[in-house]
């Protein structure tokens, strides 16, 4: 048994950002305290307007050793990028 508090990953939505971004991690006894700690550790300089925390053990990650099979096949498929279309100016930024 460990006396350490669990590790939490912290995601913050910035003042102008559309999505939450991972900013770091911290220890806390529960989710509520994790949000409070995140507020104190990661939003001291007015960085955010919303905080998500998730216990690190609940995150499933892809394996670095699968890098080849997972990502390389898309290298040769440039047609997946929408750069071959003429976009009318009225559409604006895509």
């Amino acid at each position: 048994m460990s006396n350490e508090w669990p590790l939490w990953e912290v995601f913050i939505r910035g003042q102008h950002g559309m999505s939450h971004r991972h900013v770091g991690s911290l220890h806390a006894p529960d989710a509520e305290m994790a949000i409070k700690n995140a507020r104190d550790v990661y939003t001291r300089r007015n960085e955010g307007i919303s905080i998500w925390v998730v216990e690190a053990k609940n995150i499933s990650a892809s394996s670095p050793s699968d890098k080849g099979p997972l990502y390389e096949p898309s290298n040769s498929k440039v047609y997946r990028h929408p750069t071959f279309f003429d976009i009318p100016e009225e559409v604006g930024a895509m």
Partner: protein
């Protein structure tokens, strides 16, 4: 006592409360049990210093003798300080520090909510700014008191000891004097005793959740509000004021 004399005393009390507690909290910097709490305590100390600047800055204006917030903080002696005795008490362990923080945060939140409608607009404005910070500090300190009080046997016992030790210092918050009466008459600040029912309810609820027993003693240490302090304040000032005393008007 004139209105301005009363107001000056009242502002010194508010500013000295936050100044002295800020100094005590800052003593944890680099020593807190975990990194996250260390940063949270430093944030609290800085919030309190911000509030001090506003209260003591206004106190200097009301006094009208050209003293700034810095002059009042660094160049007064023990007997001129007006903070509550509870706030100059040594920190003790982390739990005790948070218990004191909670008892004070609860009082500040009740007081500031009344000051929002002060007939003095400058007080109302400072109260509005400070109450946002205090709302967060209260949430945090109350959460910690519940977490540790209703925690392990060890943490529960330590929190009960902290409460037993600090409780006799809470009565001073509700003892009014002539200055309080003058300001209450003018609608500038609430009567000190009038804050007690709200504070009792708030503190009682949290301590109940924390499974802690409120001590039965009615004894109240007093004197801080009028300048009679414990031996601890002198050591705080020796530490805090050293630089300005040794190198007058030093800046960096």
């Amino acid at each position: 006592m004139t209105r301005d004399e009363a107001l000056f005393q009242f502002l010194l009390r508010l500013g000295d409360n936050t100044l002295v507690l800020s100094h005590r909290i800052s003593e944890w910097c680099g020593h807190a049990p975990v990194l996250e709490e260390d940063i949270a305590l430093a944030n609290t100390a800085l919030d309190l210093i911000g509030q001090t600047q506003l209260w003591l800055g206004f106190a200097g204006e009301v006094e009208g003798e050209g003293r700034t917030a810095d002059n009042l903080a660094y160049l007064r002696d023990v007997w001129d300080f007006r903070n509550l005795l509870m706030l100059e008490r040594p920190n003790g362990d982390f739990g005790k520090t948070m218990m004191r923080q909670f008892l004070f945060d609860a009082w500040q939140s009740v007081l500031l909510s009344k000051l929002l409608s002060s007939s003095d607009t400058q007080i109302a404005e400072i109260a509005e700014k400070a109450s946002k910070e205090v709302a967060y500090q209260l949430e945090r300190s109350a959460g910690t008191v519940v977490g540790l009080g209703d925690g392990t046997v060890e943490s529960h016992n330590r929190m009960q000891e902290a409460l037993d030790d600090l409780w006799p210092y809470t009565g001073e918050m509700f003892l009014g004097d002539e200055a309080d009466e003058v300001l209450a008459q003018d609608g500038i600040a609430p009567d000190a005793a009038s804050l007690k029912p709200d504070w009792d309810e708030l503190v009682g609820g949290v301590l109940k959740s924390a499974t802690l027993q409120i001590p039965s003693t009615k004894f109240a240490h007093k004197g801080g509000k009028t300048g009679t302090h414990t031996e601890h304040l002198g050591f705080i000032l020796a530490d805090m004021q050293f630089l300005q005393r040794a190198y007058p008007a030093a800046s960096w």
